[in-house]
Symmetry: C2
Subunit: 201 residues, 2 copies
Amino acid sequence: MDQGLLIVISGPSGAGKGTICKSLLEKLPDMKVSVSVTTRKPRNQELEGINYFFTTKAAFEEKINHDEFLEYAQVYGNYYGTPKWKVLELINNGKDVILEIDIQGALKVKEKYPEGVFIFILPPSLEELKKRITDRGTESKEDIIRRLDCTYEELSFAFKYDYLVMNDYVENAVSKISAIITAEKSKAIRQIALINKIRED
Amino acid sequence: MDQGLLIVISGPSGAGKGTICKSLLEKLPDMKVSVSVTTRKPRNQELEGINYFFTTKAAFEEKINHDEFLEYAQVYGNYYGTPKWKVLELINNGKDVILEIDIQGALKVKEKYPEGVFIFILPPSLEELKKRITDRGTESKEDIIRRLDCTYEELSFAFKYDYLVMNDYVENAVSKISAIITAEKSKAIRQIALINKIRED
């Protein structure tokens, strides 16, 4: 059986990673989602193993010491991490796994698992990004300017990724990502078993 | 403007390269075909610049000396070659170019133009390949056995290619190749201009 792929969907905040992942999962229902481990308390209706794996700080830190995360970060005093063992278990069972993550996290994952497929979601323009963040209405003008400065810097990391996909329309972006997944599965390097099978027959 | 891609469709004889290319061109009518240069005489209805560029032996050899071919070979005393200048002209004008070629030729092209997208077309099995060649009815039993031995050896070159696509059904194969082309155009390395544009805006 062929190994599954780890598909890392990343990019600046506001580029539309979440919407794209949701739509991609509808299109490719066999795909699994990487569920994060966190030390923060469950909120209403959050389910263990669906939204997060909830754990204690001590248990999380022990996992850090055992190198059990593809990446982790501390935000407002809580840990969040991508469990390596869960991802590898799925991949080794031939499942494709999708991981939605910010740029800093994605670059850490790339160090630990360079075989992943790293996709950078681009906003169509900084102007459009500004519009999207403003339309959300959750941030002050200063925050929006800071955010855009940050995005400008983040774009320089795009070349550390394998692919860039512009989120002009969600359907376009999702269809490109599907094509990328098909192409990655067709890579010669991923199909050693197939060739050997034909030669043995 | 982005550069076009050189899509090299290659693989063992009988794998179905020709049928795939024909169907791919119907699906992607903007794609251009690389037309070979030859010293052989035109046959009925063959048109200059459509089927081949016809030339003299002396002119061909001068082009060899000026390194003007991506690859060339001599078959039954006639030269056949892939004109580098023609392919690059199309690519530099943003056109994608498809080149259908045998394995030996493809590996030579890869030396001169490693930026190409090298796709190896696999028969579903050696058994199926035997059936296809037998059904053609143009070759003796000995020839068929020799051909299959040759294919068995040729499969070991598959890993020099970027992608392997099994030609189980032409439609499947063509749809995979279309996905590969979309994915290749999404590669970060091919989209430097796009990022710079967003940052400049």
